[in-house]
Amino acid sequence: MIASSFEYFAPTSVDEALSLLSEHGDDAKILAGGHSLIPAMKLRLAEPAVLIDIQRVEGLKGISESDGKLVIGALATHHELESSDLVNRTLPILAQTAGEIGDVQVRNKGTIGGSLSHADPAADWPATILALDADLKIVGSGGERVVKATDFFEELYTTALEADEILTEIHVSIPDGNTTGTYLKLHQVASGFALTGVAAVLSKSGDVCENIAVGITGVSDVPYRASEVESALAGRALTADNIAAAAEKAADGVDILEDIHASEAYRSNLAKVYTRRAIEGAAS
């Protein structure tokens, strides 16, 4: 299990990384934590001629608070997000999601930016990033742009990122104390990835649901917002019956994945059950 040969660069700034990317074009790949790319290279499913290792770019690291937002560097590891006091205080659902990924060693090395860019249909981060309506900051040779999470995931393993672009930061608005969230996942037993992962974020006034956002991963080629569930529950009382009725719509209009791990019918059922439980968790 040895990867094909490649040329290796370890830039220390975003500009340097970008000029390497535009110089080498489609032959080049960004390397972050390497926990999706290196396994693929060992299997020769990926054979980039050039690897641009961004782990020495300080500007892509760290988690901070600015103007009511949590600013997460693309290189923040799953472990950093799981253990950060700031994250646990302001947006505990992010720490909860991070803690569900892989195992300790994987969380020590894998990054949120790598996971989002890779867009594995069974990855955990997409569900939560969608439910939190995050903004993704991207830079390329053409400058900087911001893509909403809901516009980022396009197809299986395909995002809005162009080949010469780098995801630099994830911005999430810090909600008021009235907003709660839960990420709930069924682990595929062998790989640990999500057979279904549901992130529910809601705010309520008394018993009534004011706003609700539900992000679902593992169920379709592309992670999605369960908008039918959201509109069935917004403005209504968060009773067990209402939640259950809304959750029934979790797979409505969705092209459901089917593979050796789960049939279409099973995945569709999982989506409903995990949506109900995630909303119940967030509402309690």
Binding site: Y8, G34, D53, Q105, K109
Partner: protein
Amino acid sequence: MATTQINTTINGEDYTHEVEPRLLLVHYLREVAGLTGTHVGCETSLCGACTAIVDGQAVKTCTMLAVQADGADITTIEGLAQDGELHPIQEGFWERHGLQCGFCTPGMIVAAHQLLERNPSPTEEEIRHGLEGNFCRCTGYQHIVDAVQYAAEKMQG
């Protein structure tokens, strides 16, 4: 064949080598640095036999390139005993029969080291959770849990 120079500190000693960028860290440790305590089990990021500590983080060295470790401070199983004295975790595995064939043991001990550093007095559940990235085909894990509990008590003094 293009090579890249890497400098590392492994178990307190400095190493400098020219390596091919595609060389995995586990192969660097074993075949270039000659430290064969770190094992290769699955080579597919699942079993944890290849775990070493790189800049304070337990990682699966079969899923890291040696060039990514340029400048890093690395601790392998060989670096845990001090002056001929077993590390308390190694002692725990000895005293509590935490191994049979021993193949998983270096990775298990290094992962347990990270666990106790982050959580010096873990519950049984926390130990099992903290070692979820390490597989053992022999022991059934109970003695490994016992070994880590032994070490936790000893390290607390």
